[in-house]
């Protein structure tokens, strides 16, 4: 009982602290919120592509009762796709070079690597469009059979991811050019780089599992 009377009523449970110079205290883990967001999103995207890839694998040989319909796999042009895969793989290198150059404050070099990355991505997309048109000419459209629907959906989803990446890279390039983003925001480049590399590793899986494994 006596203890209780000694408590000063004006005393708050949580009064001023050493953290009050901040509008919020430092982040719990010391890690950037934005980067954590990107990693969480990429973890989520793993499930998206896993669902699409397994759907394709389950359906890839289903051509329907019409026996002269072909699967997408029968039309693959492996040398051609190898080249475009290689292009996408190298775009990961140019992306990482963009990140390191802005980390050193070399704005112009970063811009150059960003544009190179976007261009390589665009080359990959162009290759995909060329491949799809070729399939279509061979009579394999999106609605031809189950196999073709699954193939175009999987690679199309990946293509949309790459295209979004290109748009982000070009936007980033223009923001840097206009001075809206400088060397102190190198992390923005790194985060978009994470997305770009993810798109690349998804293609590493698709290239091996969909194209190369017979």
């Amino acid at each position: 009982m006596d203890n209780a009377t000694e408590v000063n009523t004006s005393q708050l449970a949580y009064g001023p602290t050493e953290w009050d110079d901040y509008d919020v205290p430092p982040l719990t883990t010391g890690l950037s919120n934005e980067k954590m967001t990107m990693w969480a999103f990429l973890g989520s995207d793993c499930l998206l592509f896993a669902a699409l890839i397994s759907t394709y694998l389950l359906l890839r040989n289903r051509v329907g009762p019409d026996t002269d319909g072909s699967t997408a796999a029968e039309l693959f042009d492996i040398p051609f796709t190898s080249v475009s895969s290689f292009v996408l793989l190298m775009s990961s290198l140019t992306m990482v070079l963009a990140v390191t150059s802005i980390g050193r404050g070399e704005i112009e070099r970063c811009k150059m690597w960003l544009l190179t990355t976007a261009t390589l991505g665009a080359v990959f997309i162009a290759g995909q469009v060329y491949e799809f048109t070729g399939f279509y000419r061979e009579g394999l459209g999106f609605t031809t059979n189950i196999s073709s629907s699954a193939f175009f959906t999987l690679t199309g989803f990946h293509g949309v991811h790459v295209s979004l990446g290109i748009i982000m890279l070009v936007t980033l390039w223009s923001l840097i050019s206009r001075g809206n983003i400088g060397a102190e925001r190198a992390e923005t480049v790194e985060i978009i780089g994470l997305y770009w590399h993810f798109v690349d590793i998804v293609w590493i899986v698709i290239f091996a599992v969909v194209y190369l494994i017979p």
Binding site: Y14, W19, L27, A40, V63, T143, T153, G182
Partner: protein, 674 residues
């Protein structure tokens, strides 16, 4: 300076002059009126809006339920045609799952989690608003189908190929597929935001194992959402492609496998049931200790079993498909995993009972709802274990026994917990308690109505009455129990009307001054949200709490004396913060609602005419650029955000006389924590 959002995309030029937003509007500054709500990025307003919108859909889904029960009141009911019945039961399920329980949980997550971890807002306030508005537009979009040719009619699980154009030619299933994709984006945005908030925005000293259980369960739920939503997205995209662009994923004529949809749907669908129930588990893990005046029994066990449920929930989905021709090995495997998952759930139940055991229980309304969760969920859980036994499940599948089971876990479990949360946190959100007497009427009538509605469904199911049938014959012998079930449904309605009356009456009373302002700590609570005034000030915390214990605020109030006995050393209301500081907060923003409005346009365009999609995309792109070029905060706004909170009573002074109560009998009940 908006502290919690990403740093600005450099609006200061090298010369030092500030460029006003690059071609975008300045940020809105409304502090009052509807615009203060529509453009808000405040997690508390967003939480309240989630709750309000969810209650609207709850009314809507309830009306659908009553239509179903009116149709089944008598044999050969004529209220609805078979087509209408299909649409109504589909939308009842879809509405209750996606538009009621999930957003109600989101409401609590948004409102309470930042308070429990001692943060001033979530990690990304604008993304938070974006999630809310996408959800709002998604719900409206889904229900537009009623006016555009009829609702979805394939069940909330939408089994393809039954939902392909051949068997469901109306636009209803298109609205379902697109609407749930939109709602899924909303949940994904919210999930990532809350994950980052909980991992990264905790008050100094709040380690993971000092986090309140509610926050823990919300964290688990957000991870489930993060990983489950992409799977349903893929399933819905495939269905949309089939229906809109003539793809062949579910075209059996082409050799499709009908099991594909079922697998994809239930890989999402089973984590989804934990997404629905775990927030309520978190809520009762807060209320039971407070109203038993004992610490939670086995905090770390509850946390670990919650996380274990989260993981194991990924390995049981095929128990929804036991009669679909999976093959005996699959059935046996998933039957075993399903039996295992009952273990962590049972551990939780035992922990709650042990928490109440020997406690000094006060039967407030939130406590009564919490106890009803423990008991009603146990009934639903037991019938769930029955379903894990595949031979029994084969008999029960597609009968009312299943309907009884999942209503006991979702209504008796999830919804009861959410009502407990509403009564518990109402004073924190609005500044006054809901009326306890009306609340008790609400509770008892709902509890009786609930058991009258769903209890007899067990019997009907075992008698062989099939789900999803729009009528039964007089010779089937189902009349009596169906009559009881329908009466029960209307009893629930009466209970809910009392709840609505309670809300309106206490609100009017509070406005008129006849209902007193709630103090900061009306329940003698244990967690940080009770250390700040009610209603919560706009900036939440005057000073960042520094945490040294689990249930830290409780340890500020109760400490051991020299004999090792726990004594009350301070009154929560007296030592609560005053809400009189005005730290800088993020400004409101136009862009979340604009961005969200693009999505239903895109979806409508995909169903009807592609130019609408174009407009929607333009809105989307414009909003994204507006968003990223938006100035970080309005430079003219100083500290004006706390202004509309000046009217709450300062708790100091009035409560000093309460300080000297150190009731021995109470404090001896309290076992030391940690």
């Amino acid at each position: 300076m908006a502290i919690t959002e990403e740093p600005p995309l450099i609006l200061e030029l090298e010369s030092g002059e500030t460029k006003p937003s690059t071609g975008a509007f300045a940020r809105p500054t409304y502090a009052k009126g509807w615009r203060a709500w529509v453009f808000t990025v405040d997690h508390k307003k967003i939480g309240i809006m989630y709750g309000a919108v969810a209650m609207f859909w709850f009314l809507w889904g309830g009306i659908e339920a009553l239509l179903i029960r009116t149709q089944l009141l008598t044999p050969n009911g004529t209220v609805l045609t078979a087509e209408q019945y299909n649409q109504i039961f589909t939308m009842h399920g879809t509405t209750m799952v996606f538009l009621v329980i999930m957003p109600l949980a989101a409401a609590f997550a948004n409102y309470i989690v930042p308070l429990q971890i001692g943060a001033r807002d979530v990690a990304f306030p604008r993304m938070n608003a974006l999630g809310l508005w996408i959800f709002v537009f998604g719900g409206i979009f889904l229900n537009l189908s009623w006016f555009l040719g009829g609702g979805p009619d394939g069940g909330w699980f939408a089994y393809a190929p039954n939902t392909s154009v051949t068997f469901s030619p109306g636009a209803g299933m298109d609205f379902y597929a697109m609407g749930l994709q939109i709602a899924g984006i909303a949940s994904l945005v919210g999930a990532i935001n809350l994950i980052v908030t909980i991992i990264n925005m905790r008050a100094p000293g709040m380690t993971l194992l000092r986090m309140p259980v509610f926050t823990w369960m919300i964290l688990v739920v957000q991870f489930l959402l993060l990983f489950a939503l992409p799977v349903i997205t893929v399933a819905l995209v495939l269905l949309s492609l089939d229906r809109t662009f003539d793809a062949n994923f579910f075209n059996v004529g082409m050799g499709a496998d009908p099991l594909l949809w079922q697998h994809l749907f239930w890989i999402f669908g089973h984590p989804e049931v934990y997404i629905l129930i775990l927030p309520s588990f978190g809520i009762v893990s807060e209320t039971l200790p407070v109203f038993s005046r004992k610490p939670l029994f086995g905090y770390s066990v509850i946390v670990i079993s919650g996380a274990a449920i989260g993981f194991m929930g990924w390995g049981v989905w095929a128990h929804h498909m036991f009669v679909s021709g999976l093959g005996p090995v699959s059935v046996a495997a998933f039957s075993a995993t399903t039996m295992f998952i009952a273990v962590p759930t049972g551990v939780k139940i035992l922990n709650w009972i042990a928490t109440m055991w020997g406690g000094k229980i006060t039967f407030t309304v939130p406590m009564m709802f919490s106890i009803s969760l423990v008991s009603m969920f146990t009934i639903g859980g037991l019938s769930g274990v029955m379903h894990s036994v595949a031979p029994a499940d084969t008999q029960q599948t597609d009968t009312y026994f299943i309907v009884a089971h999942f209503h006991y876990v979702l209504f008796g479990g999830a919804l009861m917990g959410l009502f407990a949360g509403m009564y518990y946190w109402w004073p924190k959100a609005f500044g006054y308690k809901l009326n306890e007497t009306l609340g008790k009427w609400h509770f008892w009538i709902v509890l009786v109505g609930f058991n009258l509605t769903f209890g007899p469904m067990h019997i009907l199911g075992l008698q062989g009455m099939a789900r999803r049938h729009s009528r039964y014959g007089p010779e089937d012998g189902f009349d009596f129990w169906n009559l009881m079930v329908s009466i029960g449904a209307f009893v629930i309605l009466i209970g809910m009307i009392i709840f609505a009356i309670n809300i309106v009456k206490t609100w009017l009373g509070y406005k008129a001054g006849t209902i007193e302002q709630s103090p900061a700590d009306p329940w003698d609570g244990r967690t940080l949200e009770w250390s700040i005034p009610s209603p919560t000030p706009e900036h939440n915390f005057d000073y960042v709490p520094v945490v040294t214990d689990l249930d830290d605020f409780w340890h500020k109030k109760y400490q051991k004396d020299e004999n090792g006995k726990l004594r009350k050393v301070a009154d929560g209301n007296a030592i609560a913060q005053l809400g009189d500081q005005h730290p800088h907060l993020p400004s409101p923003s136009y862009w979340p609602i604009v961005l969200a409005s693009g999505l239903p346009l895109i979806a409508l365009g995909l169903i009807y005419t592609l130019w609408l999609t174009g407009i929607g995309l333009l809105v989307l792109v414009a909003a994204i650029y507006g968003w990223s070029l938006e100035p970080h905060t309005d430079p003219d706004v100083g500290h004006g955000h706390g202004d509309d909170h000046d009217d709450h009573d300062e708790p100091d002074g009035d409560h000093s006389e309460n300080l000297i109560d150190s009731p021995k009998d109470e404090s001896t009940e309290e076992a030391p924590v940690g």
